[in-house]
Symmetry: C2
Subunit: 249 residues, 2 copies
DNA sequence: TCGTCATGACGAACAATGTTCTACTCAACG
DNA sequence: CGTTGAGTAGAACATTGTTCGTCATGACGA
């Protein structure tokens, strides 16, 4: 039974009562174990390494264990299961988000900045946003980012209930956007699937649709396939944020 | 090699050249095969049955085969792989969406109606929205719904490029919303996981956060956890749609 | 009417996954 | 020097998607 990693998970989701990690003073109590013991941090590092290099689909317990030079069972002394590993990943990602001090005059730009960071993190680790969508919303680092976003919204004059709902919608959209974008890029890599289409092919395909059943798609094929990812992202975020304006004026 | 189901998949994604399904006139050419042969339609039916009853996670090839009273390998004469099955599912779901004739005066309500249908379909089959997020956007039925949405937006006076981007954002949000909602309900069912929280517990947990690091989350715990699913859905959809207004006026 | 053949169904099997069981190592402590 | 106990690791199990070779079965031509 040993230390039971479930306790550790619970600690990551509960309020930080005392010391979050309780790292030794580097040389005092634990004078450097000879063989680089497996820790939750090292597991998370290895997992992110795998995801960055090969995508979230390649993230298996065995793959992570191989990176650490061990077998799959060795990880289960530190993590509860694969869901727990996902949780660690999105926690680590959210931990990297830097939150600005809320500025009532610039709440909109600040939110674009924060969610832009999240988007970039998601895209740097292709497919993790799937884990983010499935994640339990009580992870401590996720809560930290949520609190920061809430602070910005409230500083902007948005009433609390609206702010909460808007935050949910924004987070949902960003995760969904990153997931879709990752899938597109992944498909572009697997060119062995002959029915995968490039950008131009999509335009051609749209334009080749029967005019009787798909008049608009056909007519505006170019516009529909237009716009890089960031453009669409900024557009959607703008829609969501501008809708909040009335409450602030 | 036989008929190669890849051809069928390609047909489902290509333009409908001639007959979409080519169903026999019931008694003319094919006078009722004695043993109910396995067809793509029956596979899709069985798969949806499984998802409706046990959720998308329970959707395995073997499970579907069992519903049809056969072994897993029998399905591979009709589908390419599991991704193909996912594609069939979301195609069938989109086929059930009824599209209104575009009314320039009611484009907003019409869109709420269409995406409400999609949301209800997703929620009726818990978890399928995951497949929808990963789906290839060239599925014929998906294109049909997309065309319908586009028609409504254009009738509302939205310019084509904005309409296309807005459509993407809306579809993304609806799929993400349904996925999140399905996960919440699924978690609520698996009560054996002790760290899963009910609504009230979430409020308590928020209110119990340390006030120094989570002041806003703590203070507005009630508002943050407030609102049923439909409320939040309507709110987010409203944000996205109202942002389009200026272009229409 | 009989033989041939192609289509599709099926069982067994394979590789890969998450997870558990049990044995083992090895530093710390009496 | 012996004990202990946490952390490690290898083997194994159940379940997944997928493929291979074989078999039934209905259609078609002589």
């Amino acid at each position: 039974m040993s230390v039971d990693p479930r306790r550790h998970r619970a600690a990551r989701h509960a309020q930080p009562a005392a010391r979050p990690t309780a790292e030794p003073a580097a040389g005092a109590a634990a004078p450097a174990p000879r063989k680089r013991p497996i820790t939750v941090e090292r597991i998370t590092d290895a997992a992110l390494e795998v995801v960055a290099a090969e995508g979230y689909d390649a993230l298996t317990i065995r793959r992570v264990a191989a990176v650490l030079g061990t077998g799959p069972s060795s990880l289960y002394a530190h993590i509860v299961n694969k869901d727990d590993l996902d949780d660690l990943l999105i926690g680590r990602l959210h931990a990297e988000v830097v939150l600005p001090a809320p500025d009532p005059a610039a709440w909109r730009e600040q939110l674009v900045g924060v969610y832009g960071q999240l988007r970039d993190l998601y895209l740097r680790y292709p497919g993790v946003s799937r884990a983010a969508l499935a994640a339990v919303p009580t992870n401590l680092e996720t809560l930290r980012v949520g609190e920061g976003v809430l602070a910005i919204l409230l500083a902007g004059g948005i009433d609390p209930r609206t702010a909460g709902w808007a935050r949910d919608a924004l987070s949902l959209y960003v995760a969904g956007y990153a997931l879709e974008q990752s899938l597109v890029r992944q498909r572009r890599r697997n060119e062995d699937q002959e029915w995968v289409l490039s950008h131009d092919e999509v335009v051609d395909r749209f334009a080749a649709l029967p005019a009787d059943r798909f008049p608009h798609t056909r007519r505006h094929a170019a516009e529909l396939a237009s716009g890089t990812g960031p453009d669409r992202f900024a557009f959607a975020l703008g829609l969501l944020l501008d809708g909040l304006r009335p409450a602030a004026d």
